[in-house]
Symmetry: C2
Subunit: 193 residues, 2 copies
DNA sequence: CAACTATGAAACAAGTTGTCCCACAGTATC
DNA sequence: GATACTGTGGGACAACTTGTTTCATAGTTG
């Protein structure tokens, strides 16, 4: 796990078929939704043999999960230590992700599948944790510097900051711009500080 | 459309098979997700014949849509003309809906399908409009009575009030209680008024 | 009671799913 | 560069699913 020697060399043929397959999965997922992702469809689109797919991913759920796990945008801003600016930077990063159709589709699929498949529930939990960590850290350091009350509920702050953004994109299906993010952050700070 | 005479008497057999089928759809939807809702599965569970199902709903999407449209909880509070109390009442009604597993499942399915099927997109738009109307009306009358600034952006207020609730249930998958709703409303009023 | 109409069962062709087997080609080792 | 190895994709397969049609039967209406 640490030494270079213990890293098993993977047959390039495996890498090749796996990446080809996962790319095809994402394309299908994006074009027709997760129900269209079948071994047969992926084989047809990727050129990878049907039997090869069954070998690597006996269950379609695994295929989907691998494709999604390797795709979700994970970029986040880097807090500079200034509460307002850091929040604006991070929320605008999230804004950009929420306006990428492919990313949105993945979020929707995960939300729906997590309800049914434990494997997706775990994936969603991880993505939420990772997706909200930066925001949480910004709030925490704001508290540490005394810019926010000592009894600030970090999780609640995250709900108030990210909630409106996700609500607007997922439920209202309306776009929003940087000015919207300004208002969300201003609103939060006006009350909290 | 208006006179009683023009209301076509419907053969009770049709009513019977339709309600039986739609009930089965909801059960399957709840237990296994929308992909499991097929004519065959609904026939098996409801006792309604497969051919009868194809007759009434040639496409499964119609079946799903009818089942969902007839189910979504549409109860809302009745505003009494007191800003804070009305908001608390309405948001707590929504809170209850967001904690009903069947209701949540429907919301998730609609969010996911709306991305792909125009028929679901329309359904979602209607449900959003209806679901947020009461909240919007409370805000509007608050503005009218001068309890909120005249330049209040109603849609933005809705995002701020409902966003955290939906975010918490759909993305975080965490429950929340009446005290949480209190904080959301207090937070909003503290800044807005 | 007679005319009507929705129903569910059965049979059907067409398509899909998961599995297995095998010739072949790309990869690693001597 | 010959040899053993291992992943690949095609073909064949049975089991199952999907959408249709046909028909005898039973519930509904006047």
């Amino acid at each position: 796990m640490s030494a270079t020697g213990s890293v098993k060399r993977v047959d390039p043929r495996i890498t090749r078929s796996k990446t080809a397959a996962l790319t095809a999965v994402r394309e299908i997922l994006f074009a027709e939704g997760w129900a269209a992702v079948t071994h047969a469809a992926v084989a047809a689109r990727s050129g990878v043999g049907r039997s090869t797919l069954y070998r690597h991913w006996p269950d379609v759920v695994d295929l989907l999960r691998d494709a999604i796990a390797g795709e979700m945008a994970r970029t986040h801003s880097e807090p500079k230590g200034r509460l307002r600016e850091d929040l604006l930077a991070e929320l605008n990063t999230i804004r950009r992700q929420l306006h990428d159709p492919a990313n949105l589709r993945l979020i929707r699929v995960i939300i729906e599948r997590a309800d049914i498949s434990p494997s997706f529930a775990a994936l969603k939990q991880g993505l939420y944790r990772e997706g909200s960590r930066t925001t949480a850290e910004i709030i925490e350091s704001g508290v540490r510097r005394g810019e926010l009350p000592a009894d600030t509920d970090v999780a609640f702050a995250v709900d108030q900051l990210l909630g409106p953004l996700f609500f607007r994109r997922l439920l209202v299906s309306a776009a929003f711009d940087a000015a919207y993010v300004d208002r969300v952050v201003n609103g939060y700070l006006a009350r909290a500080s």
